[in-house]
């Protein structure tokens, strides 16, 4: 695997520096600890939204910092959760007095580091809430396991909550909205090739010339199963049906009580998608797949939804949550209501998404 990089150890820093240089009108960057935030942060009186996770998923998250979306992003090393000191420093930098929402993808590393950051922020008197995204239907059960991973729904939640915060929703309302988005989003992905972590320069997994990996996460971790490569239509069907036929999903998550300063357990339940539902359909590329192929997937997906009486009222097609240069795609279907549609359409101005502004 060849890459446009210098020393592998400098990959994350140099990429972020390039990004900050390119978008100095929108974002500013801090090192030691590393975070990026809106150039106009802190916004007084506005709830601030922070996300973060391993690098290698670009443009997520740094590409979504800006007006109408994230106030700050904390990038870790490649595929490695960032550390609590980054999250705390970011919180201090963007806190406008209305509190902070951490949007956290459900991976043990992310969860634990954000939990530590939440405790640290509390100790410093910063009001933080903490919402998990766990939307990956490739992970079947949650009992005694880590539960579902956070994938495609993450950036949809960031957009919708970002718009809500911009409109003046208070912290609890933004957090409740984020939980609602998560409860209505489901994703599933496949890989045609492995990615290669710069520090290792070996493919994370080996795939035969005629194989694909089904039910992948976003870190090059192997998926649930390996299958013979299928035509795009069959892949689209398989992904779409995994989502459309996913049943009720129950699990217990930990949320933070910002008043009492402690964690509490909360049972959450996803309902299945059903005829008549309005959805946002998101076809995501894994980094090495051209957009022309994503449109072929979308074509079939639109067909399947139409046949089932599920209305695609918004869509999104592109490589937004990636695994370095991995080839493959994921589908995310998010059930929408009027509030979510309005917030989705609201203006956004970040390095990677810009509309209505």
């Amino acid at each position: 695997m060849k890459k446009l990089i210098n020393n592998p150890e400098d990959f994350v820093r140099e990429s972020l520096e390039g990004m900050a240089a390119a978008h100095a009108d929108l974002i500013k960057i801090n090192f030691e600890p590393t975070y990026l935030c809106r150039v106009d942060a802190p916004r007084q009186g506005k709830v601030a939204i922070i996300s973060g996770g391993g690098s290698g998923h670009e443009p997520m998250h740094a590409g979504f910092v800006g007006m109408g979306m994230l106030d700050a992003a904390c990038p870790g090393e490649v595929f490695t959760s960032p550390t609590p000191d980054q999250m705390l420093a970011a919180a201090k930098a963007v806190d406008g007095g209305a509190g902070i929402l951490y949007i956290v993808k459900n991976y043990s590393g992310d969860v634990m580091n954000f939990e530590m950051a939440t405790e640290l922020a509390y100790a410093e008197g910063i009001r933080v809430l903490n919402i998990l995204i766990d939307d990956d239907v490739a992970v079947k059960d949650s009992l005694y396991t880590q539960g579902r991973r956070g994938v495609g729904t993450t950036i949809l939640a960031e957009k919708i909550c970002g718009a809500a915060a911009e409109r003046g929703y208070d912290l609890q309302r933004v957090a409740d909205l984020c939980r609602k988005v998560n409860l209505n989003g489901r994703s599933m992905g496949i890989a045609l090739s492995s990615c290669t972590v710069p520090m290792r320069m070996l493919p994370t997994f080996e795939l035969g010339a005629n194989e694909m990996e089904v039910g992948i996460g976003i870190h090059g971790e192997p998926g649930r199963k390996r299958m013979d490569l299928k035509p795009a239509n069959e892949i689209a069907s398989m992904l779409a049906l995994s989502i459309l036929e996913d049943g009720v999903y129950k699990r217990t998550v930990r949320e933070w009580d910002a008043d009492k300063g402690k964690w509490f357990d909360l049972e959450l339940v996803n309902q299945s998608l059903k005829k008549g539902d309005r959805i946002l359909a998101f076809v995501n590329g894994m980094g090495g797949t051209p957009i022309s192929e994503l449109y072929i997937i979308y074509r079939k997906l639109a067909d399947i939804c139409a046949n089932r009486g599920i209305q695609i009222v918004r869509n999104l097609i592109g490589s937004y949550i990636t695994s370095l240069e991995m080839q493959g795609c994921s589908i995310t279907l998010l059930k929408l209501d009027d509030e979510m549609i309005e917030l989705w359409d609201a203006p956004v101005k970040t390095p990677s998404w810009c509309w209505g502004a």
Partner: protein, 228 residues
């Protein structure tokens, strides 16, 4: 007085016999130094283990943290054991990231509280320290035994150490027993299906592979033993 003999020959030792086998600051530093070096040496091995069932970065993550630690060690050498471990914890938390960062960070943070202000640890102190660290890992990771994580090494090791201390084994022997348990437990993680961490997404495909975090945890205990 590391590994000193009982000061009064041919007489029942008035002090608990294991006093002379206490672990002092110098040994704690030696442990950390050794562990950091071991991580460096096993960076690729740990990463390969993680490649099989995770995301191929455990060695890289650990090495990032312990490289920082190596630089830091001289600056904290003249502190007490509690302060040293606290400083170690802060460095690891702020530099490892991933799942192992908060876990090793919490291990050392809790361990440090258990031995605050001490310059020397006897068997009971050591047990308190290890148990505090162990509990920290359980709480932070919400893990259970058999989930195929570092806990599956740490727990049997601490249990074996406790039993040996109950049997009034000296520090080095007790730790030897803990290490033997750890080694077996590490190998046994290969038989388990992962329930926590990235490997859990593999379902039964995780069976047959040794857990990377369990492996680094075994290395930590091995270095601890070798530093006594």
């Amino acid at each position: 007085m590391p590994n000193a003999q009982c000061p009064i020959p041919n007489s029942p030792c008035p002090m608990p016999i294991n006093h002379y086998f206490n672990m002092n600051t110098e040994q704690i530093l030696r442990w950390l130094q050794r562990f950091a070096t071991k991580i460096e040496q096993n960076k690729e091995y740990l990463t390969e283990l993680d490649a099989a069932i995770g995301d191929a970065d455990h060695g890289i993550n650990m090495e990032r943290g312990f490289k920082k630690l190596l630089i830091q060690l001289p600056t904290i050498a003249n502190k007490d054991i509690g302060s040293i471990l606290k400083a170690v914890s802060m460095t690891l938390i702020a530099s490892i990231g991933g799942a192992s960062g908060p876990l090793y960070g919490t291990f050392f943070l809790r361990a440090s509280s258990a031995v605050a202000d001490k310059d020397e640890l006897d068997e009971q102190d050591m047990l308190d320290m290890l148990r505090a660290g162990l509990n920290g890992v359980i709480e932070r990771g919400k893990t259970q035994l058999g989930d195929k994580t570092m806990l599956d090494v740490l727990f049997p090791a601490v249990t074996a150490f406790e039993q040996a201390v109950d049997e009034r084994k000296v520090m080095r022997d007790a730790m030897g027993q803990a290490l033997a348990a750890a080694e077996q437990a590490m190998k046994d993680t290969a038989l388990m299906q992962a329930k926590k961490g990235r490997a859990s997404y593999l379902g039964d495909r995780s069976i047959g592979h040794q857990d990377p975090g369990a492996t680094s945890c075994y290395l930590m205990l091995k270095c601890l033993y070798e530093s006594l």
